[in-house]
């Protein structure tokens, strides 16, 4: 029932926003999202699957039973963590665009809430078609958010965002439908239940079929993540999107891609994954370094952070492809951490933009003098993003790379991943420090440079509302940096389940080493 509520509350709020008086729109949207966040927390409390795997919060009602289509909802712990992230970011996004959006407010908040429902639906879906519908439906609100509320090049950006990701996910749909069709012809009846299809596909498909399905699924998910070389829509969309749009885009929408890999690619096509993991890992590593180098020469702060997302998500993919608990727990944690720290960075850039109407590093500088509070948060979240130990980014990045590093010495699949992958990818850590600190050095420190633009009505430094937006994210960063165990234990079981079909990989490190007599 919680699952249904999580889906319905944002939609109801969206409908309400359409009809309430003009003055109360923001409050209404904010309260609705707060209620949704509260329900998400209640759901998390009532969820029984923390740590030991399995599904929970299940809800199912038939839609087209003849073809096995049900409105079937449910979460495992990984999905619930992402639901929590979504539900948590939403009130902040609404609060963060309080003063930034001044025209067509009603539509804005409606789309934002619909988007929230769609994203939650993706994580809640247990039925393939529910998943797909929600997955695709995230595009529509986002399209309008960019196209109506974006910056100067918004039309092209929104079009590109829509068509690019849409094209990819159509191919993913083809792959998923093939799985469903193959399952139907094998089982004799239609089913779109994700667990059932995963069980069937992992065992029942030939490796050629798996390879093709992998390609089809990746066409959808890799574009969404985005993996090199299908990433170019992202910087454009980010730069043009309004602040809340960027936050949601970086915070949650990109995770739909990695979640798709976690939910579909890994369980459904293990043979193909094992075969292609090194290739994909190489793409991820190229993405890490390539995007980082591009960040280095950016002058637009927002574009820089957008490219840094490409770089960071590379670590996330790498962790998933390590196919061991270390890497995967790191990767899932990365999804959340990236949502917090990069989301916050986009908020901060939005706050700066609201005041100066520019994001050009050549025009602004030395803001520490003018906006000390803003600068404090900026440096804080940059450090979280760089992966300073004690903050959240470190734990996940460290575990992703460690998983990658350890993945080579298993010996089960020689050459799968390994130390070299980790070593080269780890160069991304240095590059991340470079480009983010260069950005901070220019924008936050140095002599004060302010553009001649007219300043907005906002106070010089952050106001209370903006601080309230940032504080929960900062608290989250510190908490997950100091107590990552909470999240990692929570997802342990789900990840064990996912990895269960890769038995030769998990935990076989010691078999090899046992022979060397290294055991104490």
């Amino acid at each position: 029932m919680f699952a249904l509520l999580l889906l319905v509350i944002p939609i109801l709020t969206a409908v309400a926003v359409l009809f309430v008086p003009e003055r109360t729109i923001r409050t209404c949207a904010f309260l609705g999202s707060l209620v949704a966040a509260g329900v998400a927390i209640l759901a998390a409390i009532s969820f029984g699957g923390w740590g030991n795997g399995g599904w929970g919060l299940e809800y199912s009602t038939p839609l087209l039973p003849l073809y096995g289509i049900h409105l079937s909802l449910g979460v495992d712990s990984v999905a619930l963590l992402l639901v929590l992230l979504t539900a948590g970011l939403m009130p902040l996004a609404i609060l963060g665009s309080w003063s930034g959006i001044q025209h067509r407010i009603r539509e804005y908040y409606t789309w934002l809430l619909v988007l929230s429902a769609a994203m939650t639906g993706v994580f809640l879906a247990r039925d393939l078609l529910v998943f797909y519908v929600c997955f695709e439906f995230t595009l529509v609100p986002m399209y309008f958010l960019i196209a109506i509320y974006g910056s100067s090049n918004r039309a092209w950006a929104s079009l590109k965002f829509f068509i690019y990701t849409f094209l990819g996910s159509l191919l993913a749909l083809a792959g998923l439908l093939y799985v469903a069709w193959a399952a139907a012809s094998h089982l004799g009846e239609w089913t779109f239940s994700i667990p059932a299809l995963s069980d069937f596909a992992s065992a029942g498909l030939t490796s050629t079929e798996q390879t093709w399905i992998l390609a089809a699924l990746l066409a959808g998910f890799a574009v969404k993540i985005p993996l090199f070389p299908v990433h170019t829509w992202l910087p454009l969309a980010h730069t043009e999107a309004p602040t809340a749009g960027s936050v949601i885009l970086a915070g949650v929408l990109l995770k739909l891609g990695t979640y798709g890999i976690y939910r579909f690619v890994l369980p459904m096509v293990p043979a193909a994954v094992v075969e292609w993991a090194p290739f994909l890992a190489v793409l991820a590593i190229i993405g890490i370094l390539y995007a980082a180098l591009i960040c280095w020469v950016q002058t637009d702060v927002k574009k820089l952070v957008a490219y840094s997302s490409v770089s960071h998500l590379g670590f996330c993919v790498l962790g998933l492809l390590a196919l061991n608990p270390l890497g995967m727990q790191g990767s899932v944690l990365y999804m959340i951490n990236h949502g917090l720290s990069t989301g916050a960075l986009f908020f901060l850039i939005g706050m700066m933009y609201e005041r100066y109407h520019t994001r050009d590093m050549g025009q602004i500088g030395g803001l520490a003098r003018v906006m000390p509070v803003w600068s404090f948060f900026m440096v804080f979240f940059v450090l979280a993003s760089v992966g300073l130990p004690g903050l959240n980014g470190f734990v996940s990045e460290f575990l992703c790379l460690m998983g990658t590093f350890a993945a080579g010495s298993t010996g089960a699949y020689p050459g799968l991943l390994g130390p070299w992958f980790a070593a080269v990818a780890a160069l991304g850590m240095i590059f991340a420090a470079m480009y983010l600190l260069i950005m901070v050095g220019k924008v936050v420190f140095g002599p004060v440079r302010e553009p001649a633009n007219e300043r907005g009505p906002l106070p010089a430094d952050l106001n209370l509302r903006e601080i309230i937006v940032l504080v929960p994210l900062a608290v989250g960063c510190v908490y997950l940096g100091v107590q990552p165990d909470v999240a990692m234990h929570a997802m342990e079981g789900a990840i064990r389940d996912t990895l269960a079909i890769y038995p030769d990989l998990a935990g076989s490190v010691h078999d090899m080493l046992a022979s060397t007599g290294a055991e104490p």
Binding site: K160, I163, Y164, P229, T232, W233, Y290, L293, I294, W296, V297, P325, L326, Q329, G366, R369, L383, L388, P389, G390, F394, V395, F398, L399, L401, M402, F405, A406, P419, A422, A423, A426, L427, M429, I430, A433, L437, I438, G441, V444, F445, G446, P447, V482, Q483, D485, M488, H489, E492, R496, A506, G507, V509, H510, L513, A514, T516, G517, A518, P520
Partner: protein, 717 residues
Amino acid sequence: MMQSIFAIQKSGIGVPAVPMEEVVIAADLSWAGLILLLPLISLVLCGVCAAMRVKSKAPAMITAAALAGSFVTSVALYLNYVPPGDVIPLLDWMNLSWGESRFDAFSANFALYIDSLSLLWIMFVTGLGTLITIYASEYMEPDLGKGYARFFAGVSVFLFAMGCLVLSDNLLMLYLGWEGVGFASYWLIGYYYQRPSAVAAAKKAFIVNRIGDLGLALAVYLIWVTFGTVQYDELMSVLQANDWRPEFEGWSVTAIPFLLMLAAFGKSAQLPLYVWLPDAMEGPTPVSALIHAATMVTAGIYLVARTYPLFLMEPVSLQVVAWVGGLTALLAATIGMAQFDIKRIMAYSTVSQLGYMFLGLGVLTTYGAAYHVFTHAFFKAVLFLTCGAIMHGFAGQLDLRKLSGLRHMKGWRITAWTMLIGCLCLAGFPFTSGYFSKDAILAEAFVTQGPGFEILGWIAIVTAGLTAYYTFRVWFRVCAGPVAFEPGDELHDGDAHHGEFHPHAPRFAINGVLLVIAIGALLAAVPYFLDNQADEHLAGGWIADMVHDSTAREGLPAGHGDVDGAHHATILGMDPHAAMYYISGVVGLIGLSFAAWLHLWRRSDADALSRWMRQRIWIGWLPRAMERKWYVDEIYHGVVRAPLWILGHMCHAFDRFIIDGLLVDGTARLPRTLARWLQPLQSGVVQSIALAMAGGVAIILLAMALFMQFDWPGGAH
């Protein structure tokens, strides 16, 4: 699962000398967490002060009190701990487990590893930290109400991170401290954030350190993959079970020490990663004294000492450490000789002295290295703090050509004489603390067998001479000679009265701290003569005790190194240690007299010599290269930074024009382009449409007639 981990930890550190069952479980030492907690509290309070825009010296008081508390706790811990030590769990951090084996779990918690090595370090770190904070309370006065709280918050962060680094019980918490001190260093170097050079220096320090951190991260991975643990006690028991021999197969045993070395060289500013340290002098001087001279930069030494058994498993690694250390010592000393900024001279001398310490580690005298860390912490702190006092008083003036005769000036006597003490120790003047600690390293270079270690020993001796020269170049120029000075460009209110500049001499806090630390620098020689508790054959007294009770000693080949009876090599027919007392004393005096000649007695000769050298082609490159720091920064810029920057632009262009422009937008434009081609057909003239239609029909009919068989009515089939 946690219980099982702590069951291992509670049982004490696996040290070979003491079998497990004999370990005395010490009294509850969990109050040791205060060492880390107090700086954290002072960080929070300083943050509150900053937020409330406190204009008093409260942040300094708070920080000094907290650090003093940490120091007292450290000393109390030293007095209460039971060798070989204990692990004190504080807080869970990361505990992953997915199976029974050691390799199926990864665990790193906030826990303190108390043994003599970590105690040695934490005591001088917190002690000097407290003193330098008191010094800074006066030094940072001009910034009261502006950056004052921010400064002391940075100092608190640093002390917290350094505590984590030194006291950690696992490599991951060490990594936390490692990056934490790097961050604190970034924070404090960039303290004057409106100065672009300070921001650039801070950035450079962080990034170069990140290269080292990369090595540390990879080392942690490799250690975990190889040994299945990152906790020292477990690691040591695994190694012990293997008799400290390199029987773990494969490349990882070779790679681990080299990766750790990369980390150590980054943090401790050795070749090729030393370039950040001289630039780091952009920070306020107390920071340079605390972080970039006395404590943080010795973290590399600590890391190598802490993981010494891993280095011993791959002998080549220690030889590399020795050579890198020796060469860095020489190179930095030559650069130091040619600089004019006294703070930079001190920075290069720090690099050079750190080189000595690595040389000591490389030639298997961990105690020599640790002792030099210990003495260096004091005398280099004094030197930096006196530089700071001068800078403070002369409005940022640091050029040794523009300052002279300080010891004759009113109010500057304490500065001048404490600086002399620091200089004597640094120069290795006989019977000062630096003299003993340096000799321990120099002698061992001749004792230990290794590729060219004897050459290395002579390099180190020559460097000692150079050190004496450039050290006293500073003192004779700045403190001796006739009184003369020019102010710097950082004039504060009240510096100039009636248009004339008056240096303001240091007051109580600065003078007091200078005196205390200078006395400390002299007394640092005392531990050398204290009795050993454990083994009377060991040289080096108390410090040797502190080092040898720890992991730094484990696995050292029996009867090697510091053990007196093991000396086989001789210099000039004497025992190396005895010979070194004379050699280094004489070399130091030679350097000192050169300095006295060129910079005190006849300063004009120095200029003449310099001019003479510069005009000779065969030697002219030398002073120029030394002054330009051997062009290392330029080489880095040309070889690393510029190519990467160009590569970045190339990637950006590739992304914009090839991937996005050609592939993505190209694909998107394909239908439209196709339509453009066909567009002229749509002329809108009915006739042309009809013609096209008719033509098309005609073509189809023709094709049908030619290629298809029709059942023509009435026709021939």
